[in-house]
Amino acid sequence: MNLAIDVIQALMLIAIAPLVRGVIARIKARIQNRRGASVLRPYADLLKLFRKQDLVPDTASGLFRLAPVILFAVTATAAVFVPVLHASALFGVGGDFILLVYLLAFGRFFLMLGAMDGGSSFGGMGASREALVSALAEAPLLLALTSVAILTHTISLSGIVLATVQQYPLHLSAVYVFALGAMVLVAIAETGRIPVDNPATHLELTMLHEAMVLEYSGPSLALIEWASAVKLTLILALLVGVFAPWGMATGASIVGLVLASGAFALKFAVSAIAIAVIESSIAKLRMYLVPDFLGMASALAILAVAFTALMR
């Protein structure tokens, strides 16, 4: 039973990822006084791309077409780590947050290489900027998760979520506040949202992710887009799971699971609204202010870790 739920929640995470994107885009459109496309639009886009031809630059090597496959595979594997409906996951016990962070880095490394294989300056520029963001984002992400792991005395994601969900919200250590702050900043950078990156632009001065995937088309692009949607969803699920897991099922009862699904949908809706509001109300940062942004995340994460020792 537990195994089945684990498999289902991982598949669900991968399946609903485009929907999450669609919902955010829809809410954003509403805030900006537009009708906006249907929330199912990302699925239609993926279907369309999967039916198209794969255009490959004449300079590219085999790695160009391999990179999207690897990116998707490791991102999908990372999704198996995250508890969603109940406080456990398939790789939740053996799979810890270090593995999760490094799996995401795995995919990003290959995406950067794929971008550079195109042989144009767009790909190189995107990869270079992505390298900057990821180099500086990894440390605060790991430190923030480390502080939570220290509080819960376990490094496995299931353990962390279980320890949190069993506590009364008011009893949570205040260190969570610092860790949450750092995680939110990093999550924005990692998933390429405003103010670090603008997912809706194709202007070379402002973009990171879009510059990297400029040479990709057809099924390869579909895989990349799907993978980045999965990444967004799993980081949201991680944030929700670590900092607001209440409502998750702790056992394997049907009622609990239904309730957990409801709670999950509600929490995701709230996060989507939050993202849409943030993205509509602030401007994208200049490229060289991004290190500043991540520096703040690092300071918060360092404080979070220091406070686990100071407040024990």
């Binding site: 008011l170 500043d292 300071a299 918060l300």
Partner: protein, 220 residues
């Protein structure tokens, strides 16, 4: 009833962290108005703390102090400052001499420093270490804001944060100063803000800007 007690205990226990958050946000804030809002929030946290102490100690005086804090620091001073900002029609930038990340790092270092500074005293005096550290951190943060921000209004902000630190130190060491002294301090502050406001306008009128670093031209 249990819930209120729990909330009061929680307010005391975690208020230090929330104070630190306001400090960190102040360090990262780029606009004066953000700082004013943050100051108001910070004072509200202080008020909650005083209320919690009052509830625990059943002291009427403390309730009065809490009320004063809310009236003066949460509402009146921010309101005044907002008016000054609005009437000045100057740029909102705090004109920091350190970058955002640097400020936040320095602020984090100051917070850690205050923890290390108070650790021996808190043990011997049996005081709440977090709150005492928070008080010192507020003092240091106020001083840091005054040093690193070039706008005259930010010097006022620094002073106000510093004063919050003094209040918190008094609260944690002696469970509140006598009401009369508190009232005196508040009026002092209020007058200070008025005076600083006047000065800010004078500086602006004379030099066409608010950057105190330009006052250097005054030397002979």
């Amino acid at each position: 009833m249990g819930l209120i007690e729990l909330a009061a205990a929680k307010a005391l226990a975690s208020s230090a962290v929330f104070l630190f958050i306001t400090l960190l946000m102040m360090a990262s804030a780029k606009r004066i108005s953000t700082c004013i809002v943050l100051f108001s929030v910070q004072s509200a946290i202080m008020a909650a703390e005083i209320l919690a102490v009052a509830y625990a100690g059943k002291s009427v005086e403390s309730y009065a102090v809490a009320a004063l804090v809310i009236v003066v620091k949460v509402v009146a001073i921010p309101y005044l400052l907002f008016r000054i900002v609005r009437n000045l029609k100057a740029s909102q930038d705090v004109a920091s001499s350190t970058t955002g990340a640097q400020s936040v790092f320095i602020m984090a270092a100051l917070i850690l420093l205050s923890f290390f500074a108070v650790a021996p005293y808190a043990k011997t005096l049996r005081l709440d270490e977090d709150l005492l550290a928070a008080a010192i951190a507020l003092l240091l943060a106020g001083a840091f804001l005054m040093v690193s921000r070039k706008k005259a209004l930010m010097q006022v902000m620094g002073l106000l944060v510093l004063e919050n630190g003094i209040l918190l130190a008094a609260l944690t060491t002696t469970f509140g100063m006598p009401l009369v002294i508190e009232i005196g301090i508040f009026f002092d502050l209020l007058m200070g803000v008025f005076l600083m406001g006047l000065f800010v306008f004078r500086i602006r009128d004379t030099f066409e800007h608010l950057d105190v670093s330009k006052l250097r031209r005054l030397r002979g």
